[in-house]
Structure formats: C-alpha cells, structure tokens
C-alpha cells in the first residue's frame, strides 16, 4: 500500500532515507516540469530540481503540514528556479512575486491586425511545439503561473500558497501571462505586427 506524503515525510524526518527517496520519486516529474518552464533548459532545470529536493530534505523539520507537501515543494521550486533564472539570461523585469495588483490593470492587449488567420497555425505540430517553448521564454514568474495553472492543474489556492501571494494577484499574473504569451505567438507569426 502506498504511503501518503505525510507518512513518508514523518519517516524521512526520523532518518528514513528510503522514505525521502519515495517522495523524490513521486514528485520529481512535477517539480522538474515547473523548474523547466521557469529556467528554460533541461540542464539548469534538472540542477534546480535537484537543489529543490536537497533543500526540502534539509528543512523537513520546518514543514508543519499546514499546506500539502507538494505545495510546499512548489514554493521551494519557484524560489530556487527564480534564483537560477536570475543568475542566467532571463529578463527579470517582472520577476517580483509581490507587487501591486493595480499594476496589472488597464494594460492594453495591443491587438495586431493580421492578414491571415493565426489560429490555423496551431494545426501544425511544429508550431504547437514552438508555442510550448514560448512559455519558457516568458518572464519567469509568468512561466511559473502558466505552468502551475495550465500544465499542472493546480488550483488558485495552491498557486497562492506556493507563491505566497493573494489569490487576486495570482489571477492578475495569470491574465498578464496569457496576454504576454499571446503577444509572443503573434510576434512569431508576423514579426512586424508588434513592436
């Protein structure tokens, strides 16, 4: 019978390394995909994911069980990934986790006037892959919220806990993230339509 995360955490706290290995095995894919979307490349993402679990192990004593273990892991993963992204190439102009919700209001969507129907491009597998890669090209905090909400199906509550942000701010970040992704998509279709 599979043990719950909480039971594995309790055993790992008592020094049972195989219990912790069970936690790593169970959550490695989700943590890796989150770090991958924020960091942007497999090598750095895997290193970041490894760091996430090492930090989690060191801090097991601080995990109180108020949130789910996975949410706690995501919180560590976001912090580690943002630090990793900060050290690398990423544009950090919008990596602040806090920040006023007001700054997300009133932003024009800047509609392009396209001659072709861009939706048709999504019928090509290659273009869809490009779009998926664009998520990692977004500012890291946008990559994080899109990854958690759309790829890993976390709820607003869970994202709010993982990012330690109010739910309203999470929704605003998601709105902005989708708009930014859409902008990248249009730019890839007709580079001259958006400045």
């Amino acid at each position: 019978m599979d043990l719950s995360d909480e039971e594995l955490v309790a055993r790992a706290r008592d020094g049972d390394r195989s219990a912790f290995a069970g936690l790593v095995d169970r959550h490695s894919v989700s943590v890796f995909n989150l770090t991958l979307r924020i960091v942007g490349n497999r090598e750095d993402a895997e290193e970041a994911a490894q760091d996430v679990f090492v930090r989690a192990y060191r801090n097991l004593g601080r995990f109180r069980g108020d949130a789910r273990f996975s949410t706690w892991l995501y919180r560590i993963a976001v912090n580690v990934s943002l630090s990793s992204a900060r050290r690398s190439r990423r544009d950090l102009s919008t990596t602040s986790l806090s920040g006023s919700e007001d700054e997300d209001e009133g932003l024009p969507l800047q509609l392009p006037d396209l001659s072709a129907n861009p939706a048709e491009r999504f019928e090509q597998a290659e273009f869809r892959e490009q779009v998926r890669n664009m998520v990692a090209a977004l500012p890291p905090i946008y990559s994080a919220v899109i990854s958690m909400y759309h790829m890993q199906s976390l709820s607003y509550d869970e994202i709010s806990e993982a990012l330690e942000l109010p739910i309203g701010t999470v929704k605003a970040r998601l709105f902005r993230a989708r708009a930014a992704l859409r902008k990248l998509i249009y730019r890839s279709i007709e580079p001259d339509t958006l400045s």
Binding site: S30, L109, P118
Partner: protein, 191 residues
Amino acid sequence: MNCESTQRMLYEAVDRALTSDERRLVDAHLSACERCRSEVAVLDAMIETVETTPLSSPSEAFLTNVMDSLPAPRQSLSVPSLFIPRMVFAATLAAAALVWLYRAMFVEIVENLLPVQTVIGPVTTVFRDTQAYLQSQAGAVLARLPEQVSNSVEWGSMLLVVTTLAVGYVLVRTAEKLDVGGSRFEIGRRT
C-alpha cells in the same frame, strides 16, 4: 463594446464564467467582428496547446543524484546518533558532581603530594580562588532571598549544579548543531 474590452473579457472568461449580460455583449460583438472571432480561436488554441504539453521527465540518474547529494543523516534525527553526546554529557556531570562532593578531599590529596606540590600548587590555588568566588557570588544571591528560604537548601551547591547542567546542555546542543561526529559540518551551503 469595442475590440479591446471584448478581448479583455474573453481572457477573463478563461478564469471565470461571464455573467449573462457580459456574455450577451461579447456575443454581440463577436457576431460583427471577424478579428475578435479570430482572437477567440487563437486564445482557445493557445490554452489547449499549453494544457496538452507533455510532461518532461528528468534524467534516469535524477533520483540517484538527489539521494547522493543529501547531507549525512543529522545527529539529531536518530537515537543512536544521540547516544555518544548524551553519554559524554552524563559522564561530565558525574565527574563534576564527584569533584564537587569530594572537593575538600581532592584538595587535601593534591596538597599532600609534596613532590608535585610545586607544579600542582598554582592549580589548587586557582581551584580555591574559583571556589571562593563562586561561593561569594552564591552568597550575594542568597542574601537577596528570604532567610527561611536561604537556610533551607544548600543553595551554593545547587547553583553550581544548575550552572553545570546549563553549560553541559549548551555544549551538547552546540555539538549536535555542528554535527560533530558526523561526516560533515552543517553550517553554510553544501558546495
């Protein structure tokens, strides 16, 4: 309703159900605006594409790498790891108690060892001075207590025992924190 308001509402509709009034306004605009209809198709395709992203797996060596990177089991995590520091603590306390209980005999024995008197002499002097100092400090504390309380217990001895316990406790906690006896110190980040 213009295009931008419509599209903002379309993006909001990903997160929440539009009210019937909002839905009616959006539908009215979409029926007359090809560009916004195209935008709806793009938005739907974009969300669908992102949500159907296959999950990537880390390398096969990931689990092994993580487990190899974990710090050695902390001394505080297991009972056997606490055995040695606790025994050292207990032995230190026992030795301190014995020295204190038989302090007079201890000084007398040392003083009678004439051949080593010249060497040990300064040690016993320091011992006596320290004892006198501690007793004077204890006396200062006792003087502040009600007389019936201060006379009921041998407070000087108790203070020393408490001090010894506190020092021992701090030493053991420090040793545990530094992971003394383990394979590495825990201070700072792993490199």
